[in-house]
């Protein structure tokens, strides 16, 4: 019986290196060291569950609620757009949430977009066209930081895809400016109130967010007469930002049903022909 030794020796040496130089010190430190200190805000995020918005587009059969998207657009326009850009969305896209061509044209014209003076060639602004994209409130990041206590308001086009469970996260975050939960506070002996310029928000990743609370009752007057409660506005704008992040979301789900339905049918046919073709080659059941 010959056992080839080369590979075995190589393997043992490699494992020995790992064991002697990493594994044993690692085990020693695991046994002796205190576990890494949890941040003070740990208790607030222990469950890390933010409430769900209960959106019409949730689930496999979800659909847009155009009324809600239009309300959400109004919230963005009148509140968020003061600081946040929406650079991947064009005015023409608003037709997808139920505005007709004339309304889109009027809506675009209500925004000022960067332009060039036709005579002097100098930079200026002009009313938007449907083909224009939503303008940024600041000319650049430095200006944005200068106006916002050195915080940079992120572009909102993709925000609900750029955060885990984004739609519900935006919905929760906008309503998360509450007093710290006493139970969590008791578990956080080192808790300190938010430094100046930051605001306590239990759904933000380190509980201190630079964005001040925005939504107050009747902050805006909805054009469809819906009562503008903070919860209503948070849900509407979260829905709108879900649409901006993925305008094809509902079309995608509807296409999915059609495709999967066809595949189930085709696979069933394929399976039946497989059974028939193989019938003669399978052992007979006794």
């Amino acid at each position: 019986m010959t056992i080839r030794l080369g590979g075995i020796i190589f393997g043992l040496v490699l494992v020995a290196i790992l064991a002697l130089w990493s594994l044993f010190p690692g085990a020693y430190s695991l046994a002796t060291e205190e576990p890494a200190a949890k941040p003070d805000y740990y208790a607030f995020q222990e469950e890390n569950i933010h409430p769900a918005g209960g959106f019409s587009f949730d689930g496999v059969g979800g659909k847009w609620d155009n009324q809600q998207l239009q309300r959400g657009y109004q919230v963005y326009k009148e509140v968020c757009s003061a600081c946040h850009s929406l650079k991947y969305v064009a005015f023409r896209n608003l037709e997808q949430i139920g505005y007709n061509e004339a309304e889109v044209r009027a809506e675009a014209a209500s925004w000022n977009v960067p332009g060039i003076d036709g005579v002097t060639g100098e930079a200026t602004t002009r009313p938007g066209e449907p083909t224009d994209y939503f303008p940024s409130p600041y000319p650049n990041e430095v200006a944005a930081r200068a106006a916002n206590n050195n915080a940079y308001p992120p572009d909102l086009s993709l925000i609900t895809k750029a955060r885990p469970d984004g739609s519900n996260y935006v919905y929760s975050l906008l309503q998360g400016y509450n007093e710290p939960d006493p139970e969590d506070l008791a578990k956080s002996p080192n808790f300190e109130p938010s430094p100046p310029g930051l605001y306590f928000n239990e759904y933000f990743y380190n509980i201190n967010i630079a964005m001040p609370p925005q939504l107050y009752p009747d902050l805006i007057t909805y054009s469809d007469g819906t009562e503008a409660t903070p919860e209503q506005m948070a849900q509407d704008v979260a829905a709108f930002l879900t649409w901006t992040a993925e305008p094809s979301l509902v079309q995608r789900k509807q296409t999915g049903w059609f495709v999967i339905g066809f595949l189930i049918f085709a696979t069933f046919l394929g399976f039946m022909s497989y059974k028939q073709i193989w019938a003669g080659k399978k052992p007979k059941k006794k």
Partner: protein, 457 residues
């Protein structure tokens, strides 16, 4: 090649006869994946994943070529051009989601294909070359997938590229200049993105070329099978078409249903939300994690936390980072030696009781745990778990497998494939028995002329 009873291509019409004389391409296809290729009749569903891998390679190439028509590989516009695809290109969202999830499904089917090979020892003689080419394909796939993930130029794209290209910096002496040369700078930049796009477009066609060699090498000995007993006669085989085209066909439909469920209803669950934030060299994400299919190898990379030193002198022989890099590349390169590490003459794991235990209770849990550890932050207990399972990974291939293959007493093999399917095999008049798939022979198996194990006759 092929078996004597393989059907021969017979052109029927004048046109196909004319083609066959000038360029016998239909004949080649007929012999490769048509009725001219006899395949063991007892293949189980684990043998479907090769065809599926070829299918997903085609999905990636077709969706990828169309995406490339709309994508721009420039750091200032790459992220925006992906959003342009998602918003303005007709069914661009479908193309991109199919391509992104197609990569994941390509790796899923490839991992199933590799584990099939590991359990049924598809790497053993006379099929070593098929296995070696397969490992080459896997390495090319990893390079292609890594570079593809950089193209959207999101946060994970940039920081993943930075971490992985940084690995080359660990190579002694030439590391840093090599890294700068590969990246085209000190950190991923416009030059990096451009060359990654170029290579990401090129490599799939290289993969397709190696796949052709892989299939060519397969057709010399023919497909392996779950018993590991070689084909002996015509009743052991069925023609690839229609038998396995039908079986692969309906199974492909099943996999496509699952694939569609991801593409249409959960297209982003396998990705990372941070990649919808444009790359920012000044802002490091909290946890940099690679795509899920790289996690086991990422865990091996991070398992080495201590420098290799001469004790009590403080002289560093090999830095921890380099050890990790060696181990990560070694964890795949070791597959190249598998045909010679596993000396057991029995191919199929089904007839190897000891091997089977180490496979199901050693290797498989190790791969699952390494995948989990790779996705976790580098803190305890994940560090020590990565180390334990990394140690087992190398022990398994380099120590356990060679020893097991020497000391194990395999179970008796069936006389033939036909017997294993039908329970009896008339033509050779053996005592096949009526019930079990395995004959009640007590004889210790003997090695056949080609080194494979055949039952005593």
């Amino acid at each position: 090649m092929s078996f004597a009873w393989a059907k021969e291509y017979e052109p029927k019409s004048d046109f196909t006869k004319w083609i066959d004389e000038k360029l016998p391409l239909p004949r080649m296809v007929y012999n490769a994946v048509g009725a001219g290729y006899p395949v063991p009749r007892n293949l189980n569903y684990m043998w479907n994943f090769g065809v599926l891998a070829g299918f997903f390679l085609m999905v990636q190439i077709i969706t990828g070529v169309v995406l490339a028509m709309h994508y721009a590989a420039d750091t200032s516009v790459a992220f925006g051009s992906v959003e342009h695809i998602m918003r303005n290109v007709n069914y661009g969202w479908l193309l991109r989601y199919a391509h992104a999830n197609g990569a994941s499904f390509f790796f899923i089917v490839i991992y199933m294909h590799i584990f099939r090979g590991l359990f049924y020892s598809s790497y053993k003689a006379p099929r070593e070359m098929i296995w070696l080419l397969g490992v080459v394909i896997f390495l090319l796939m990893m390079a292609t997938a890594f570079m593809g993930y950089v193209l959207p130029w999101g946060q994970m794209s940039f920081w993943g590229a930075k971490v992985i290209t940084g690995l080359f910096g660990a190579i002694p002496f030439v590391g840093e200049p090599l890294q700068v040369w590969l990246v085209g700078g000190y950190a991923p930049n416009a030059a990096t993105l451009n060359r990654f796009f170029s290579l990401h477009f090129l490599l799939p066609f290289v993969i397709a070329g190696v796949v052709i060699l892989h299939i060519w090498a397969l057709h010399i000995p023919g497909s392996s099978n779950p018993t590991g007993v070689e084909v002996k006669k015509e009743s052991d085989t069925v023609p690839f078409h229609p038998y396995y085209t039908a079986k692969d066909g309906w199974f492909l439909g099943l996999v496509l249903i699952i694939f569609s469920a991801f593409v249409f209803f959960a297209p982003n669950v396998l990705g990372h939300p941070d990649n919808y934030i444009e790359a920012n060299p000044l802002s490091t994400p909290a946890h940099i994690v690679p795509e899920w299919y790289f996690l086991p190898f990422y865990a091996i990379l991070r398992a080495f936390t201590g420098d290799l030193t001469i004790p009590f002198t403080g002289i560093v022989l090999i830095e921890a980072k380099l050890l990790g890099v060696i181990a990560m590349f070694g964890s795949i390169l070791v597959w190249f030696f598998l045909p010679w590490l596993d000396k057991s003459p029995v191919r199929s794991g089904s007839y190897r009781p000891l091997f089977k235990k180490f496979f199901w209770f050693g290797l498989i849990p190790t791969m699952i745990m390494l995948t989990i550890c790779g996705g976790m932050p580098a803190e305890q207990p994940w560090v020590i778990l990565s180390q334990i399972f990394t140690a087992y990974y190398f022990l398994h291939f380099l120590v356990i497998l060679p020893i097991v293959s020497q000391i194990e007493v395999p179970k008796p093999l069936p006389f033939s494939i036909t017997q294993s399917v039908l329970g009896e095999d008339d033509t050779d008049g053996t005592t096949g028995g009526s019930g079990g798939a395995k004959p009640a022979t007590e004889t210790k198996p003997l090695a056949d002329g080609d080194g494979s194990l055949q039952p005593a006759e």
